[in-house]
Symmetry: C2
Subunit: 405 residues, 2 copies
């Protein structure tokens, strides 16, 4: 029966309804479950002391400013710090190219607000980040999917997909969520060239790029694009909108991320953000600046890298020990996730119901495919759980999978 | 000339474009201007020490939780604190009825996301809160306006307006932004009855209700509605969605507000918020709980009340001294704003250009009328400026107006 409220909900809320998987994932938040399902950083290494010192300094020296309303664009010293940080990775921008957002999820929402009309097609990898789909479904987006392999988005398939007229291309080039794979340099160049040829912008989502604990850093898609679109303005004006976040290199609980984009896109995003939440917490921005500037950020990233490398190693070893034949997985060189593929015919959403009984959890892969597929896959997070728990959790998962293959 | 980006913006961003007034208001942020334009609290009385102590306690006792991802609904102890606080004003709810948002601006955006299809009509007071219009324009809203007077929305005119089929009624009953007027008890009852008769929900925006420094508290529209819609569920399930915020009773820089609504509305809002910013800062919610619980919130609200009463008194006295005949203004019993009406034919947007030269600023009234009108009105904020500045600023404004009447 409809309640008086339900018949008033907007048509598009039909697309935002809770799925079976979301209901199942709620159950995985019980404290006695070993959860590989979330995208949580390791809480043991959060820089708690540095945050405490920073809060004290900010409130002692700038209390009335920190607690007051602030500019929609964000706190200027923080934007300048981000510009300097990005320059280490050859992203050459000024603070005019940066908007601070309330987590990268808000950046995705604001991109939906300024770009997507109902029925617009967005080109995504299959599988792709679930949060982007959640943000854009609310604006009536549809999806063109391009398959991916161990080298990321298949750029051979990309050209054909571009002919369907996407509004933009969405790509996670580094240690992708959910697969953990990285777009190769060759494919990055092909992506930039094809996007330029078809006149389609790229949204590059890079929350994990700095969490590489193995292999060589690859230039951002934004950097490759900049080399193609030289300009005399002193600020970035190319074909890529680049997203990154403090959630994975500092702490997600402060909800701070940023968008790097050409000035005309930043202007539109600022207007959209003004209507969406006015601005991101002044206090948190000032605290993040206090914590991050002066070299701490780079030192702390090294701590995270070594923590996650250990956990990836443990998980990969345990998988080799406990998984039956016919099961394969990626071996990411960074980030938070790896991707498990079971033999065809095994449904991981069904498997999750059994796994919850055995007190272990993962995310069924099908949630990451906007147009269907991936029923025999799953995403495993290795950053959150202590190595002992990873060992025990993968052993439990192995026993369950043994039963069904 | 269009840049490659501009032709890709969504159709609806046409409705979000910067106005002349917004451009003018940017100029009012110069430090030497006496600004009555913002809706800023008095920074001198921010509880800086209490925030500092709270940050230390939260990080010492719960650091890894405070810096981690949190639930979309919000931090449970904070939601329970809000429920207890609301009970003082006879709003009887449990934490299940509460969603924490990143400022009330986000609550307005999420309401747009779940309720408004392009072309939907929203019934608002004229004038009404500009931020609500900014949020809902992005979803293609149109507006039915009902005039207001010194007793708030004219409920005589409301019935006729309801026949145009609005999706919901938006009302700010206490010390309205921009006029500073309060909806009388009689009209609150008429509003609830009419909304019920026509089956139209009410969105009650109440950021200022607790900042009454004179006269008797009036029951919230939500409370009057609850008496009409008794239920046995133990939670609120009436016809009103109620919004309030910590921005005006604690500090806006932490971006914390809340929605009180029937459970089926909260569920939809949670889904919408998940796609919009995942959740509001865990850290800020825990700090606000630490600051606010145990009686501090009520004590601090008294400090704000007496500060704002003094400033209102000063502004009203200065207006009486400096304004020429033919100028009238409201005398709010609480809140942050009063409303000035100049003789017909004087355009306050034009006047603002002159005022900026004289280093004094206000918001031209026409920005608050979605369907036009109010060219001879202005909003004045009395909470932000020190009494000496109010004195000087109103004197400057008086001289300017003397010249044009």
């Amino acid at each position: 029966m409809q309640t008086p409220w339900q018949y008033r909900f907007a048509q598009r809320t039909q697309r935002m309804k809770s799925s079976t998987i979301r209901e199942l994932l709620k159950l995985t938040q019980q404290p006695d479950i070993i959860s590989f399902s979330g995208g949580y950083p390791a809480p043991e290494v959060f820089p708690v002391k540095e945050f405490k010192d920073a809060c004290n300094r900010v409130l002692e020296n700038h209390g009335p400013i920190a607690l007051q309303y602030g500019a929609t664009e964000g706190y200027t010293p923080l934007r300048e710090m981000i510009a300097r940080h990005a320059a280490q990775f050859d992203i050459q921008i000024s603070s005019e190219n940066i908007l601070i957002t309330s987590g990268s999820q808000q950046a995705l929402d604001l991109l939906g607000k300024i770009f997507i009309n109902p029925g617009d097609k967005i080109l995504v990898e299959a599988p792709t980040y679930l949060g982007a789909l959640q943000a854009w479904n609310a604006y009536g987006a549809e999806y063109i999917t391009v398959p991916s392999d161990e080298n990321g988005m298949d750029t051979e398939a990309l050209e054909n997909a571009l002919r369907y007229g996407p509004k933009f291309i969405y790509v996670l080039p580094n240690f992708q969520n959910p697969t953990g794979t990285t777009l190769s340099l060759e494919r990055r160049k092909q992506l930039v060239e094809l996007a330029d040829r078809y006149g389609v912008p790229i949204v590059e989502d890079d929350p994990y790029g700095q969490l590489r604990f193995e292999g060589e850093h690859l230039p951002a898609v934004e950097v490759i694009d900049s080399l193609m679109h030289c300009n005399n303005h002193g600020y970035y004006s190319g074909n890529v909108i680049y997203l990154s976040t403090f959630s994975k290199i500092l702490a997600p609980g402060v909800r701070l991320a940023w968008v790097i984009a050409p000035p005309e896109v930043i202007q539109k995003l600022v207007q959209a953000k003004q209507g969406a939440d006015l601005h991101t917490s002044t206090f948190n921005q000032m605290v993040a600046y206090e914590v991050g500037h002066g070299g701490f950020l780079n030192r702390y990233i090294q701590v995270i890298q070594s923590t996650y490398k250990e956990r990836r190693d443990v998980m990969v070893e345990c998988l080799a020990e406990h998984m039956p034949k016919g099961v394969s997985w990626t071996r990411p060189q960074g980030g938070l996730f790896l991707w498990l593929t079971l033999p065809e015919g095994i449904n991981t959403t069904e498997l999750l119901k059994e796994a919850i009984k055995e007190k272990v959890a993962f995310v069924p892969g099908e949630s990451f495919f906007p147009n269907g597929g991936g029923e025999n896959t799953m995403r495993l997070n290795f950053s959150f759980s202590h190595p002992d728990k990873i060992n025990e959790g993968i052993a439990r998962l192995g026993r369950l999978i043994q039963k069904v293959v």
